[in-house]
Symmetry: C2
Subunit: 123 residues, 2 copies
Amino acid sequence: MVAEFIAAVEAKDIDRALGYLAEDVSYENVPMDPIVGRELTGVVLRGFLEPATEVDWQVSREIVAGNVVVNERVDRFRIGETWVEVPVVGVWEINQDGRITLWRDYFDMETYTSQLSTLTDAG
Amino acid sequence: MVAEFIAAVEAKDIDRALGYLAEDVSYENVPMDPIVGRELTGVVLRGFLEPATEVDWQVSREIVAGNVVVNERVDRFRIGETWVEVPVVGVWEINQDGRITLWRDYFDMETYTSQLSTLTDAG
C-alpha cells in the first residue's frame, strides 16, 4: 500500500494517491504539527509537489511488521534544472481496510529548506 | 543489542556502550558526515552526553527484521533544569558477532539546536 502510494506521488497523481489514505489519516512531518484528514493532506501534498517537474522517491529499505511499514528513502524533487534531495525515514500504519492511517516522516528540515532557498536565490 | 546499548548510554557508561559497537561502526546523524570507528564514536558520544545530568531515551516503537533494527524514539537530555527533547528514528545494523555496525539517526537538527540555544541564552 505504501509502495503504491509512493508510485502515485511520483506520478503526481494526487487523486490516486489519496485513494490509498484513510479518511482520518495523520500526515506528520515531524518538526511540524500533524496534518489530519485525507482532504487536507491532499491540499498540502498538491502544493508541495506543484513546483516539481519530476518526483523520484528512492526507497533504499522497507521493513514491514504487522500493520507498520518503515521505509528509508531519499525523496528527490526536480525543480527547474536542479534535483532537491532529502534523506527521510517514514513510519506508516495501515488499517484493516488496507488504507494508510499514519504517514510520519523524520528528516532534517534545514536540508530541504536550504536547497530550496539556493534555488530561489539563483532564480 | 540496541536496547542494551541505549541502556548504557542512559547510564552515561560510555565504555560499556562502546562494547556493543563493532570496531568499524558507522555512526550517522543524517544531516552530518558519518563518524566512522568505535574510538571516534566514543569521543563524540562522550562530548555529546557530557552536559546532560540525565539521559532518557524513550523508545516508542522497535522493529526487528533480520539484522536490521529500527526504533522510533524521543531522546531526552536533562541540562540544568531543562529537558531537551528530540524525536528520532534510528536505523541500526548488527553483524554476526552481535555488534552494532550501523547507527543512523534521522531527526530535525534545528529541533535540537534551537532548544540548546535557548539554554545558552538563559544561562
